[in-house]
Symmetry: C2
Subunit: 112 residues, 2 copies
DNA sequence: AATCACTACCCAGTGTGTCTAAATATATAG
DNA sequence: CTATATATTTAGACACACTGGGTAGTGATT
């Protein structure tokens, strides 16, 4: 199973991010790990790819973010937690539909 | 069924081209039409997108091209015919496998 | 003959989004 | 004190699809 390169990912990463946030809010680094875990070793995203995507999604109003409050149980670098907004949930539904249509159409061509 | 935008297509167009050429050689404009026909109205490629892809694939040795000889039955603008090379056929197999892995992995994430 | 529509190819410039690669910061283990 | 893991940030490079134009031959319409 070879690696999924950047070009193939284009236009789908945001949908993936929205999807993993559907199962609960998470901070950036955690999203990265959720994606990698789900990627069967084929997905090797770097921070420099994910964070700009998060900023875009936040800017579009699909995600809301807040700095995690200090907890005594955990001292470490501050984290920024992201969650789906209502708008983001609706967008996810649209992008899922778009993903399916993409797979169907391109698949029809590629799977001759 | 909304349109498939450019970013989603990235990294897949070449696979699509190799695929349509599997059913027989064709010139650029015809490839464009085959893709559009198979696209259920969602694929609107322009020449400026396809031709550079053809040049890339030719440069990589996956396609061979020749100017179509003048035929008495058809007089019109010259056509450049493309066909899969042996190398191109092997590459198509690889890219198909890659496409399937892509759909599986991204699909797993997106289809929650 | 002039214009239009269709076929067919070519190309320069633009833009988006992922990649590379590095910097910053805190906590724990050796 | 250094290394490792966590966690965020950003600058710069680059690939590739897009926009929107251009050339040219042919047949049909005006």
């Amino acid at each position: 199973m070879d690696e999924i390169k950047g070009n193939e990912l284009r236009g789908h990463l945001e949908t993936m991010v929205l999807s993993v946030l559907e199962r609960g809010e998470a901070h950036g680094y955690e999203i990265l790990q959720r994606l990698e875990d789900a990627g069967c070793g084929a997905l090797k995203l770097k921070e420099g790819t994910l964070y700009p995507a998060l900023y875009r999604l936040e800017g579009l109003g699909f995600l809301a973010a807040r700095w995690e409050a200090n907890e005594e149980s955990r001292r470490g670098p501050r984290r920024r937690n992201y969650r789906l907004t209502r708008k983001g949930t609706a967008e996810l539904a649209r992008r899922r539909a778009s993903w399916r249509s993409f797979v169907t159409i391109i698949g029809n061509i590629v799977e001759a």
